[in-house]
Symmetry: C2
Subunit: 341 residues, 2 copies
DNA sequence: AGTAGCAGCGTATACGTTTACAATTGATTG
DNA sequence: CAATCAATTGTAAACGTATACGCTGCTACT
């Protein structure tokens, strides 16, 4: 039953294939009577259009590709959820590619873009591995691209994007620690290739500078954006000659690793060390103690990114430029206290 | 530069389009000399084959669809990771659909299957919403299907699958609690539509029966597979007239919710209540206390499922039947102690 | 030397759909 | 009743690729 084509239906309904096609795609251009006749034939044969042929003919697949650093991170999957609901609403399917924290080679990335059979691309915190590559891709295929969660680098400035103000948020997190009396504040950030954490580090440094607090060598460590990486980074921090009283983590995943490492060392949070995270993943409120963190509207970001991409696909070139800034919020829980020392 | 077709290349290389096609797909059927000539033309034009046309012509897209209850659950995303690495190795892209814990309507599911432009389907813990639907789909399109993480129901018994022995694993978890002296053991399971937790519930009941322990009314509660659901379920459990000394949760997500709810109520784990989870997601070892749970080789399951699907796609009908059972393991951490009472 | 065999390449067709354009129908009006 | 026009339907071409088949010319063997 799989190989019933439009011809079959046409023959059975005694009309031309063009009419059958119109019945499906432009019912208003066809008589009610013939429409019913065709509808009948469709039911009898169990016909459904060959999507491959449609895609080929129309030059559209109704598939979009989303590229993200890791599908393991709850924050990204929350963004994915938003993308999904918007995609479903607009009739798109979504194809996932993960860069494994931007560790993919340029070749692999090129292959991804070239072999695409998608109508557009969403880059979630994944511009860095692309850079020029993406630009050339843009020239090759003129494939619509929207960037999520990440400030666009200057060279990609003409791509639409939606994200929070990472710098301001990081400042806010740092300032909160400062307001609680902390002076020795360290930061666990992501690998240097991650633009996202670059911004957060920038915000952190700006807040420290503004408060005239110094940042010791070795206080800014790479936690790889993973739990394991953060634990290692935290170990280094604990062995630092001038031990910090508070740690700002560039994402919650690392904050969880950090928290656990500190407790493993027999210390208490927040009594001995305070921690602030970033993202407000759903595990942030069930850690012990619950995590003070920056909350991002992840699902909303996903939805907006997807809608923006749709607009771009459908209109040819939907209003590029102008990044869309969504609000963040500092969520105060119980992982921060005034410093003991 | 996007609209350069094989014709362009043929013209430039002064050969027929058939030869160009052969150079790409069957280089051995072509002289070295012409191959180079064509290669040259390809570089000059920047040609890359139109994937849509290829898919159409070949009747293959090299895309597979994976259906899962939720992309938010770390266990499922771990399976996804395994699927991804296998997919990349075999040259497939993966398209994701989530059923939102099987809450999709039959219509939506039908639409998914009909509108597919994929070469095969992987159902991760998602057979239940399909049932007969899937069978008819099988008849319609003869699309290869592989089932992951879930025992196949009798009606789907001829589909290949790979999963752990959920019943045995649940027995093991329950027996462990029993061996520690617990007699009043409750269970938080998933919604009744989830076959997966059905099996786990079955194992739990079997172990209890075998140990001649009774299961009070209200001891088996639905935690919805989510943190929030589990918290609510746990509240009910704590208000039960005959309060259990231990709780077995059908997945770690719920175990985390359970743990947090108990602590919120001012009790301690494992001193007052013991908890066992299921899945061994990566947050299981960073909870406080670390969670005793059943570990599944999630990535491996993903890889195997994908490879199995590939075999089926490539050979037409790769050895159906025979479920592939992968090993589980009880991981003992610190969320279980001997009961106080 | 003649012929069989074969490698290499070109010709032409097919895949299933959409759509511009032509053709037909039916209705309306002078 | 003829003529005009709009609404509906049919015809045919096109999308870009893969490939069956046939043709050419070369090699090798008798």
């Amino acid at each position: 039953m799989s190989d019933v084509s439009i011809k079959e239906v046409a023959r059975l309904a005694d009309v031309s294939i063009a009419t059958v096609s119109r019945c499906i795609n432009n019912p208003e251009k066809v008589t009610e009577k013939t429409r019913l006749k065709v509808q009948d034939a469709i039911c009898q044969t169990g016909y459904s259009p060959n999507t491959l042929a449609q895609s080929f003919r129309r030059g559209r697949t109704n598939i979009v590709m989303v590229v993200l650093p890791s599908i393991g991170d709850p924050f990204f999957t929350a963004v994915m959820s938003g993308i999904h609901v918007a995609a479903r609403a607009k009739g798109y399917s979504v194809l996932i590619e993960e860069t494994e924290f931007n560790k993919m080679t340029a070749d692999e990335i090129g292959a991804m873009l070239v072999s695409n059979q998608t109508d557009g691309i969403i880059l979630v915190a994944s511009t860095s591995p692309f850079g020029n590559e993406v630009l050339s891709a843009k020239n090759n295929r003129r494939l619509p691209i929207v960037i999520g969660c990440e400030t666009v680098s200057p060279e990609l400035a003409d791509f639409p994007s939606v994200h929070i103000d990472n710098i301001a948020a990081a400042k806010e997190a740092t300032n909160y620690l400062i307001s609680q009396g902390h002076k020795r504040i360290a930061m666990v950030c992501g690998q240097s290739s991650s633009l996202l954490t670059k911004d957060r580090e920038f915000g952190y440094r700006a807040a420290m500078r503004h408060a005239e607090l110094s940042i010791e060598d070795g206080w800014v460590v790479d936690g790889d954006l993973t739990i394991a990486g953060a634990r290692k980074a935290t170990r280094n921090l604990m062995n630092h000659g001038n031990k910090p009283t508070a740690i700002f983590c560039a994402n919650d995943e690392m904050a969880i690793g950090c928290l656990h490492e500190i407790k493993s060392a027999g210390l208490q949070v927040p009594r001995d060390i305070s921690i602030v995270g970033f993202d407000d993943i759903r595990y942030a409120e069930v850690t012990d103690p619950p995590l003070t963190t920056i909350s991002q509207p992840a699902e909303e970001i996903g939805e907006r990114v997807m809608y923006r991409l749709c607009r771009q696909i459908e209109t040819g070139n939907g209003a590029a430029g102008s990044p869309e800034i969504v609000p963040h919020k500092l969520v105060i829980r119980r992982s921060v206290a005034k410093p003991a020392s």
